[in-house]
């Protein structure tokens, strides 16, 4: 990310220099704009560390107080958003340590290792005619456009997203729901493209399977 731009929302670029000067002067309009632009991403990142929504909210609030009171210490060596997110992750880690909760990006959560996208039993085995090819193939969803727009399907997906492991939920939420690019997500979380894709893949694969189960089990 270039050091002279703060990109937190897709398509929005604001000069860091102007923003920092305005924040130092206590300009409320600039602050509110930066806050509303950054909030969704900050809340999702904080939630990946926190035990609850309320704690995530607390982390975000503490971060903003630290940003306003500490803006004089911002030296412009990184982008403003990078600086803000480093404060956020530090606040989040402090909370995690207090709650004796594992920091999401520092360990492998159980069940995340070697998790296949599709149950291996659905593929032909080595001694079958076509090893690695479908034994139980996916059945096309009937009228997916209409059915996936239903409130019930969306609620089901929302609940499934909320139930993903922390890191998968964070990456799928940032990429697919909030619409951030892989570059933005990798920059702000310090992830490689490949590892970001692994998490995205596992999250999306689980969600597809849950939607499949739901659509197969309900009337077309």
């Amino acid at each position: 990310m270039p050091a002279d731009s703060s990109v937190v929302s897709p398509g929005t670029v604001v000069s860091d220099e102007k923003t920092v000067a305005a924040l130092r002067a206590g300009d409320e309009r600039t602050f509110r704009e930066l806050f509303s632009r950054s909030y969704p991403m900050m809340k999702r990142v904080a939630r990946a560390y926190a035990v609850s929504d309320a704690v995530a909210e607390e982390i975000v609030q503490e971060t903003w107080v630290a940003v306003v009171t500490g803006i004089d210490r911002f030296e412009g060596r990184s982008a403003l958003t990078t600086w803000i997110f480093s404060i956020l992750t530090n606040q989040a880690k402090t909370h995690s340590a207090r709650e004796k909760r594992a920091v999401p990006f520092s360990c492998v959560a159980p069940g995340e290792v070697a998790e296949p996208a599709v149950n291996p039993d659905r593929f032909q085995k080595h001694d079958d005619a076509w090893p690695g090819h479908w034994a139980t193939p996916p059945r096309p969803w009937q009228k997916p456009e209409r059915r996936l727009l239903s409130l019930e399907a969306r609620d089901r997906l929302k609940a499934a997203l909320a139930g993903l492991p922390d890191r998968q939920r964070l990456i799928v939420g940032l990429r697919d729901v909030e619409g951030h690019s892989s570059e933005e997500v990798c920059d702000l979380l310090g992830l490689s493209q490949e590892n970001q894709r692994v998490l995205l893949h596992r999250g999306r694969s689980r969600l597809r399977a849950i939607l499949d189960e739901y659509l197969e089990g309900s009337d077309a």
Binding site: G26, F31, R139, L161, V177, H201
Partner: protein
């Protein structure tokens, strides 16, 4: 945050380096790289060749795209009123500068 905890395994969304063709079981692990346009050209060709002859995998890819489209339609996080404590700190800055 760092990435040391992320495993590299045969089920990752990265390249599997298929020698001459992709199986369905490999394709379901390459699908994210495929829809993101992030596969190596050689792997991309193998995936595309597979999709020409395998309707089941076409169905799978369509379902993955429909899942992504549905996620994109979910409500984004709204932004609440900024915390009063931060607004107070901002007010203090204005007062100090005045």
């Amino acid at each position: 945050m760092h990435e040391s905890g992320l495993p590299h395994d045969g089920h990752s969304a990265g390249e599997i380096d298929p020698s001459d063709e992709v199986t369905c079981q490999q394709l379901v692990e390459l699908v994210t790289g495929y829809v993101e346009g992030a596969l190596q050209p050689r792997t991309m060709n193998h995936v595309e060749e597979h999709l020409v002859v395998c309707d089941f995998c076409v169905t799978y890819v369509e379902q993955m795209r429909a899942t992504i489209a549905t996620l994109q339609g979910l409500e984004k996080h709204g932004s609440p009123e900024p915390p009063a404590s931060a607004l107070a700190a901002l007010q203090a800055r204005r007062a100090a500068g005045a």
